[in-house]
Subunit: 189 residues, 2 copies
């Protein structure tokens, strides 16, 4: 997806060996026009696949999923990382290890929102080790629903997540796959 | 806004004396069609007001702000509650007390994203005690920007936040104002 790759090259920032900051347009400040292009592209990639719901994880997946959902005409559910008085006690839970935050955290979805018969598209901003996507799949399966696929904005192709998911038969569509960082710039597959 | 009030009455749930759960459409599962109507209504309310950026707070403000931003044609910035390796160290910070979570938490915005000359619209899902909105205003002012207004989906009119903000000369537009809960159902102003 050219517009996305250009945004990464022009507005992204490589920090150290393997961190790509995209906070100018994807996960702190949000370029809503680009998110619309991303949403349309997810719809194009998953054309013909039955999707009843989009599942993502707070916080950076929410904008991507919400804008994309306009093209799929389905509701979004986002998994919560923080317990709250307002959250149902009756939840599906799973543990996810975050390499960025260097800790394990629990994510939860109210049982009301994942049901048998649901065909769920998981959307997220990054795929690196694949832990968030595997956690969301676990929640989908706990709810007796089907994982229709995983849509990722930026996949770090040099990390194992993509392979781990695809080896388990999960359909993964990434709009930009970074093969490596060379002299401080991403190189796409 | 009738569609919103109907959603609150039909799909919301009053818990105890003062908690309104709207997790079926606003802050866990997201009804993206309704969010579009909400976004259009914010645009109508703030017609003629110069807005250069929308500021909200993770997690439940993000979908509302992102969908609304499509009608304002401006970027969204969301304040972060969780520190992360990927977040700039150079941030505006403020403390916010959450009554729902019963604790103080820090919110942060990278200094890159709030600038002199910005006219900022703050959007959020709920207004109760007004602490989140005041925190976001503090960040706007630290950045030398101007607070153009505060747009709220659901205001709890029986709590003090709306009065506190309006008494300070802040323009607050709430799409649904709940005056009280009567026999387990919200009564609108």
């Amino acid at each position: 997806m050219e517009a996305l790759k250009n945004a990464i090259l022009e507005r992204g920032q490589v920090v150290g060996e393997d961190i790509l900051k995209v906070d100018t347009f994807l996960n702190h400040q949000l370029d809503v026009s680009l998110l619309n292009e991303i949403g349309k592209e997810f719809k194009r990639r998953f054309e013909g696949v039955e999707i009843t719901k989009i599942l993502t994880i707070e916080a950076s997946g929410i904008a991507i999923a919400s804008i994309a959902a306009q093209y799929f005409n389905v509701p979004v559910v986002f998994a919560k990382k923080v317990a709250s008085k307002n959250l149902d006690h009756d939840t599906y839970e799973t543990d996810v290890f975050s390499f960025t935050k260097a800790k394990n955290y629990k994510v939860r979805v109210s049982k009301k929102f994942i049901n048998e018969g649901d065909k769920i598209l998981v959307l997220d901003d990054f795929l690196a080790q694949g832990r968030a996507a595997l956690g969301l799949r676990d929640i989908v399966l706990q709810g007796g629903a089907e994982l229709a696929g995983v849509g990722i904005v930026i996949e770090k192709g040099f990390q194992e997540g993509g392979k781990v998911l695809r080896d388990q038969g999960i359909r993964v569509d990434s709009l930009a796959v970074i093969e490596s960082f060379k002299e401080g710039a991403p190189v796409f597959e």
